[in-house]
């Protein structure tokens, strides 16, 4: 899916989509912003499925993505499934995506990846809620990889491995729900190889400056190069203190 600047000033942004396992439905748009809903086109995800979602928001445009329903990765009976999302934001572009829960049913073997590339001044807000197991289940196996970078280098690289049958203390412990809101922004360009702003680096001396407030039981992690990762681990999605990110649109 691509959100492009209008050809003439004052016209509406252009939204191009192509459907696969997922379909994209244009909900609203104006001269700079579009809202698009993602709809599953059948039972998702089954063993062997590979959902690929590519989202491109061109310079100066804004996109709000919404999920029409949550997703369940079903028992693949030995066959793994994948969900790969690739987000590309041009300079000054923004993307807000308040995803609905992604449930890893017992027997599922899921690899879910999100890669994001942010242009100068681009802003990305993602909510990702992953649940190990449907009601009464412990849930299957999950690899959750997030890799975000801007023109200066990596912003966040994280790979979480969890298994409902084999919980690991320190990783998720006994919590089946991992709820994360990630906000990132691309560093301003025009700095050549910079991004290594000397004053921007944390020093061990500023011991408390980086520690954010706690939102209920959620923890706000301030990332080294700016942006935050707000995370809550818990027993059930309805108990999460994380609000969906506010859409930037009209």
């Amino acid at each position: 899916m691509t959100v492009e600047r209008p050809a003439t000033p004052g016209a509406l942004v252009r939204v191009r989509t192509s459907d696969g396992l997922l379909a994209a439905r244009l909900v609203a748009r104006n001269g700079t912003h579009a809202e698009v809903a993602l709809v599953a086109r059948g039972a998702l995800l089954l063993g062997g499925d590979h959902a690929v979602l590519g989202v491109r928001v061109e310079a100066g445009c804004a996109l709000t993505l919404t999920d029409v329903g949550g997703t369940v990765a079903y028992d693949g009976e030995g066959r793994p499934c994948r969900w790969d999302t690739d987000l590309r934001l041009g300079a000054g572009a923004s993307l807000d995506w308040a995803g609905l829960p992604f449930v890893v049913a017992a027997g599922a073997d899921v690899r879910r990846t999100t890669t994001a590339r942010l242009g100068a001044g681009a802003r990305l807000t993602l909510r990702e809620t992953v649940v190990l197991g449907r009601a009464g289940e412990r849930g299957g196996d999950l690899v959750l990889r997030t890799e975000a970078a801007d023109d200066a280098g990596p912003l966040l690289v994280e790979e979480l491995r969890a298994s409902g049958e084999r919980p690991v203390p320190g990783v998720l412990g006994d919590h089946p729900v991992i709820d994360t809101v990630t906000t990132l922004h691309g560093s301003p360009g025009d700095e050549g190889s910079a991004g290594h702003d000397l004053t921007g680096r944390h020093s061990a001396g500023d011991a408390t400056a980086g520690h954010g407030p706690r939102l209920g039981d959620a923890v706000v992690l301030r990332l080294e190069r700016g942006g935050t990762l707000t995370r809550w681990l818990g027993p059930a999605t309805h108990l999460s203190p994380l609000d969906p990110p506010r859409p930037a649109g009209p």
């Binding site: 790979e159 491995r161 944390h202 992690l221």
Partner: protein
Amino acid sequence: MTSPHALSVAMLLADARLPSGGHAHSASLEPALLGGLPVAAVPAWLIGRATTVSLVEAGTAVVTARLLGGAAGTTTPAGAVPADTIPHATIPHATGPDGVRGPAGPASAVLDRVVDAWAARTPAPALRDAARLLGRGYLRLARTLWPDAPEVRAITAYDAVRGPLPRAVVLGAVAGATGLSAADAVRLTVYDDAQTAAAALLKLEPLDPLTPARWVLEACAAAEPQVPRVALCATPEDIPASGSPQTEGWAEAHALLSQRLFRA
């Protein structure tokens, strides 16, 4: 001039009697216990660390050694790099952070890339701060023991301009300077983390001191299947990114406490 064997260096680095500041740290154990981790779950928690956050640290050290040494260039396929040797440095002496050049580029640029990769994989500021405090202690040690090694000169110059480097990067420079193999740098990292937590446990909980010793070896054993893969890391992108969200949350909460025995 004779040099110590790399194993002797490894033993020195892993020795709790080494005055590098490690005694003030619990490798996230005190935060975990305060956060509600039962003592009975400590062995499983140690195994979890050995196969997640310790591998991020270990991969960071391996890549630092390799890129500062430079013989394994960034374009070399990972599979072609011998797992058991970190090539010794060939870079000239430093005059400033940008004065050192290795085949992978100026040392300061190499260190920037490794630090950025490490920081992107270490989302909790409390853990980044703790790693930099430990790095400072390790750097003091490295500067005293191997002042003429090009890797140590490079990190010293970098530290003077950019501020403290995380411990894994300093360890990588020492590994490169002393000929410690990549696989052994990984094992050292895993062992040191587990042993730091085990030693802290005895200060926090009454326990037969021999019991955590077994747990340390179990954690090392759990990491062993990963050692060859991590030892092959050749570029910052190769560094494992295995996170531990619950530990990260505990670390942040602990950093705000005034009553604590350990720094982190």
